[in-house]
C-alpha cells in the first residue's frame, strides 16, 4: 500500500480545488492512512455480481 504523505494530500487537494490549511495537513494525512487500512477488506471483496445500492428511479412520482 502506498504511504500517504503530506505531499500526496496537497496534490489531491489541489485536484479537488480545495485549500487545506497548513495546520490541518497532518491530521488529514493521518485520517487518509487510517481509512486506507480500514477499507482494505472492502477492496478485497469480489463484487462482480453485486449491483450498486444507488438505484435510479425513473418514475415521475416525487
Amino acid at each position: 500500500m502506498v504511504e500517504i504523505t503530506v505531499d500526496i494530500v496537497l496534490q489531491m487537494a489541489k485536484a479537488a480545488d480545495l485549500v487545506i490549511p497548513e495546520e490541518d495537513l497532518e491530521e488529514v494525512r493521518s485520517a487518509l492512512s487510517d481509512y486506507r487500512i480500514a477499507f482494505q477488506p472492502v477492496e478485497a471483496l469480489d463484487l462482480t455480481d453485486v449491483d450498486p445500492a444507488l438505484i435510479m428511479d425513473p418514475r415521475w412520482v416525487r
Partner: protein
C-alpha cells in the same frame, strides 16, 4: 431555586415517565402547565451543570401548555399520550421559533421558518417543544459541545445527540428527539442510562433535518423507558413523501406487544465482533442483562458474521463522502466557521475516490445479505451487544487525534438499516451507566421495544436518577468523613 417543598413537587413531576405523565394528564390529575413548569424549573436547576440545551423555548412552551390544557379540557380534545408532554429536539432539526445552529458557528443565528416533519408530527400530537438540545457540530465533527454527562459532569455525554441524552437523563425533558448516523442516538443513551431507539431506515422522516449522510441518517426517540420510546414512535413514524428515503409501509401500534414478554425469542451474540476488547466491568453488566433475559425465556445463539469486518471501511467511506458532499460549498465559503477537527474530517472526505464510494455501496449489499442470512439460518429475532466498549470517558478537553482508527461498531445498524436500541443495564466504573443494544429485523421495532420493555419490567435501572446518585455519593462521603 424554590422552597424545599416546591423542589420536591418539581422532582415528583419530573420523575414521571411519559406514560405516567400522559395518564395523569388524560385523567385530569395534572395539567400540562404543571408539567411544563416543572420541566422549566428543572432546566433552571440543572443547566449550569449539564448544558443540555442550546436554546430553551420557555414562553412558547408555556403558551403551548396552556393551549394543551384548554384542548384536553374540551370534550374530545385529547390527542395522544404525548398531549401536553414537554420534549426536547436536537438542534440539528428544524423547529420554528428558535435558532437551529447544529452546534456550529457556520449556522449562527439561523432560524428556520418551517418545522421538520418529526417536529410537526409531535406538535400535531400535542407535545410541547421545550427547547433545542446541544449536538456535536453538524452531528459529525469532533467539536466538544458544552454538554456534560448527567451522572458525572466530569465525563462525556456521548454524541452526537448529546443534549437530548443529558436532558432526558437529568429529567429536564420527558423525552427527546435525536438523530443517528452511526450510533448518535444509542451512544449518548448508553452513556447516560436512558433508552435510545434508532428506527429502521425509512421509518421516521428526516425532512427538515440538516443532513450528514443521506443513507445513514436516522431520526428516533430517546426516553427513560422502552414504553416511552414506543409512545413517541406512534407519533413520529410514518411515510413522508418529502423524504426520498422514506418507505411507505404500515405503522403498527408500537405499544401493542410491550406486555407480551420475550419467552421464545431468539437473540444472536457475535462475540468476535461486538464483545471484543469491551471493558470487563462493563461487560459484566451486559452479561448480567443477558442472564436476566435468559430467565425471561430468551434463547441466545452464538453466531459469527465474518462480513462484519466490512463495517468500519464501509462506514468511513460513506459517511465521509456524503457529509463532505453536503458541506462542499460551505467549507469553501466559511472554512473558519467550522471547529478545526470537523474541518479536517470534511477535508478528508473530499479526497476520497468516487470508485471507492461505489465499491462501499455495493459492499453494503454483501453485508446486508450476510446479516439477513444469519438471522434466517439461526431463526433470530435480533442480535444483542454491549452499547459501548466502556463507560463514558472523562472530559479532557481534547479528543483523539486518530479520527478514524477505531471502528464504530454501532454503525452496522446504519449501514444495513436495521432498527437498534440501547437499554440501560446498570452502572460500572464508579457509577457510570452501562447499556446493552438490541438489533432487530427491518421494520420490527415492535420486537426490539418488547425486549427492552420486558427487561425494564424486571429491573429498576431506568428508575435510578442522577440526583439520587449524587445524594448517595454525598451521604457516603459524609459517612467516611465522620
Amino acid at each position: 431555586m424554590g422552597t424545599v417543598s416546591e423542589v420536591d413537587a418539581v422532582n415528583e413531576l419530573t420523575e414521571l415517565t411519559i406514560r405516567e405523565a400522559g395518564d395523569l394528564i388524560a385523567a385530569g390529575k395534572v395539567s400540562s402547565v404543571e408539567l411544563t413548569s416543572a420541566i422549566l424549573s428543572q432546566i433552571d436547576r440543572t443547566e449550569a451543570a449539564v448544558f443540555a440545551y442550546a436554546s430553551v423555548m420557555g414562553e412558547q412552551a408555556m403558551e403551548g401548555a396552556r393551549r394543551a390544557d384548554r384542548e384536553i379540557a374540551a370534550r374530545g380534545g385529547w390527542r395522544s399520550p404525548l398531549h401536553g408532554i414537554p420534549v426536547g429536539i436536537k438542534d440539528i432539526i428544524y423547529a420554528t421559533g428558535a435558532p437551529t445552529e447544529a452546534g456550529s458557528d457556520v449556522l449562527k443565528g439561523f432560524i428556520p421558518e418551517w418545522d421538520a416533519t418529526v417536529v410537526r408530527r409531535l406538535k400535531e400530537a400535542g407535545a410541547i417543544i421545550v427547547g433545542k438540545t446541544h449536538t456535536i457540530e453538524f452531528a459529525y465533527g469532533q467539536s466538544i459541545p458544552p454538554t456534560r454527562n448527567a451522572w458525572n459532569t466530569a465525563h462525556a455525554p456521548g454524541g452526537s445527540s448529546s443534549g437530548s441524552g443529558s436532558a432526558v437523563a437529568v429529567r429536564s425533558a420527558y423525552g427527546a428527539i435525536g438523530t443517528d448516523g452511526g450510533g448518535s442516538i444509542r451512544n449518548p443513551a448508553g452513556f447516560q442510562g436512558i433508552v435510545g431507539l434508532k428506527p429502521t431506515c425509512g421509518r421516521v422522516s428526516r425532512y427538515g433535518v440538516i443532513p450528514m449522510s443521506a443513507s445513514l441518517d436516522h431520526v428516533g426517540p430517546m426516553a427513560r423507558t422502552a414504553e416511552d420510546c414506543a409512545l413517541m414512535m406512534n407519533v413520529i413514524a410514518g411515510y413522508d413523501s418529502c423524504d426520498q428515503q422514506s418507505i411507505d409501509v404500515p405503522v403498527p401500534d408500537y405499544t401493542a406487544d410491550l406486555d407480551h414478554g420475550v419467552d421464545g425469542l431468539r437473540l444472536g451474540l457475535d462475540r468476535d465482533y461486538f464483545y471484543d476488547a469491551v471493558n470487563p466491568e462493563y461487560l459484566s453488566r451486559v452479561e448480567a442483562a443477558i442472564a436476566e433475559l435468559e430467565n425471561l425465556g430468551v434463547t441466545f445463539v452464538e453466531v459469527h458474521i465474518k462480513e462484519l469486518e466490512l463495517v468500519h471501511g464501509i462506514f468511513l467511506n460513506v459517511i465521509a463522502t456524503d457529509t463532505s458532499a453536503y458541506h462542499r460549498r460551505l467549507l469553501r465559503a466559511k472554512p473558519e466557521g467550522y471547529y478545526p477537527r470537523t474541518r479536517v474530517m470534511l477535508e478528508f472526505g473530499e479526497l476520497l475516490f468516487g470508485t471507492d464510494y461505489l465499491i462501499a455501496q455495493r459492499a453494503r449489499h454483501v453485508l446486508r445479505t450476510a446479516v439477513k442470512d444469519t438471522f434466517t439460518k439461526h431463526r433470530l429475532d435480533g442480535l444483542i451487544a454491549p452499547s459501548a466498549m466502556n463507560t463514558a470517558v472523562a472530559m479532557s478537553g481534547e479528543v483523539s487525534a486518530d479520527l478514524f482508527a477505531q471502528p464504530i461498531r454501532q454503525s452496522l445498524a446504519n449501514i444495513v438499516g436495521l432498527p437498534a436500541m440501547s437499554v440501560p443495564c446498570g452502572f460500572a466504573n464508579a457509577g457510570l451507566p452501562t447499556g446493552f443494544e438490541v438489533y432487530g429485523r427491518p421494520f420490527d421495532e415492535t420486537t426490539v421495544l418488547r425486549i427492552g420493555a420486558a427487561y425494564q419490567k424486571v429491573t429498576e435501572w431506568h428508575r435510578a436518577s442522577p440526583a439520587q446518585a449524587r445524594q448517595a455519593e454525598a451521604s457516603a462521603r459524609q459517612a467516611t468523613a465522620s
